[in-house]
Subunit: 139 residues, 2 copies
DNA sequence: TATATTAATGCAACTTAGTTGCGTTTGTCA
DNA sequence: TGACAAACGCAACTAAGTTGCATTAATATA
C-alpha cells in the first residue's frame, strides 16, 4: 500500500504544498479498497468534518492525475471514480451493491493489442476491462 | 446487417406500434458503423427534419433495450451510446476524433471468467473491454 | 370508416456530475 | 515577516439524463 505522507513529501520536494484537502484525500484513497467518485469523496470527508468545495476536489484530482498519482476508473454508471495509481489491474463490479473488487488477469492482452494495432493501424494507449455481475453477498 | 423494417415487423407482431421515431431511430442505428449517443441521435435526426423530444428518445431507447434490440455501450466520456444488438464484440476508440471501430477478439475471456467466478464467488453477467488510442488518421 | 384503447409523445421542471471565472486565502521560502 | 504563487471557495453555468403529467396518434375491431 502507498502512504499519503510519502506522496506528499515527494510533492513538496517538487515545489507543491501540503494542504489539508490534499492530505486527507490521499489518506482516504490509500485506505480505500475501491475507487471513489467525487460525490463519494465529499461524503466521506464531510463525515470527518472536512468540507472542501467540489471545485477544489475536482481540481485537486486533476492535479494528482497529472502527477500520475491518481488514475481515473470508469465503470457502469456515469460517475468517474479515482484510485491511487498502482499496477495495471481490472475490476469485478457488483451490479447490486456497487462493490468493486480489484483483480489481476492471468491472461495477457499484449498479443491481442499487437494484432489489433497492426490490423487497424491503431496506436493503442490503454485498455479498460471490467467484469460486471453479482458478488458473494448479492447472489 | 439488421434492417429496421424487419425489427419493426417483429415488434408489431408483439402488439407494439410503428412510429416515425421508432422507425427512423432504428434506421439510423442500423446504418451507423458506430454506437451513437442521444445527443448525437438528436443531431442526426434533426438534419433529416425529425425533431423528437429527448424524453421520447430516452424512452424509446429504454424500450428497445428491454426488447433486446439495442445495447448500451460505455466508453471514455460520460455519454451512454447505443447500438443494434449484435454478436458480442469490442471497440477501438480514438482519443482524438472519437471514431469507434468494432473489433472481434481472437483471444477468449471465458476461461478467465470461470477462474474469477470461482476464485471470488462472483457471478459474472458480462464484461466490457475497450481499447483506447489513436486511429489511422489521427496518429 | 368511425371509434375506443393505450402506446407513444411532448413539455416543463428537475437532478446530478462536472466546469469556468474570478476574487480570496494560505503554505512556503527567502 | 512579507511576497508570491499554489490552493481554495463561491456562484453561476453546462450537459446528460429523469420524472410527472397532460396530449396525440397508431391500430384493432366494430
Amino acid at each position: 500500500m502507498v502512504h499519503a505522507p510519502e506522496i506528499i513529501e515527494n510533492l513538496k520536494r517538487r515545489g507543491f504544498r501540503e494542504t489539508p484537502v490534499r492530505f486527507r484525500l490521499l489518506e482516504l484513497l490509500s485506505n480505500s479498497s475501491t475507487p471513489l467518485s467525487v460525490p463519494e469523496i465529499i461524503g466521506k470527508l464531510s463525515q470527518q468534518n472536512l468540507k472542501p468545495n467540489k471545485t477544489t476536489l475536482y481540481r485537486e484530482i486533476d492535479f494528482l492525475m497529472n502527477q500520475d498519482i491518481l488514475v481515473e476508473v470508469r465503470l457502469h454508471d456515469r460517475k468517474k471514480r479515482y484510485e491511487i495509481t498502482q499496477q495495471h489491474h481490472h475490476h469485478l463490479v457488483c451490479l447490486k451493491c456497487d462493490s468493486i473488487t480489484d483483480i489481476k488477469l492471468k491472461q495477457d492482452l499484449g498479443r491481442e493489442e499487437t494484432r489489433l494495432a497492426k490490423r487497424f493501424n491503431f496506436a493503442i494507449e490503454r485498455h479498460a476491462l471490467e467484469f460486471f455481475g453479482y458478488c458473494n453477498n448479492c447472489q
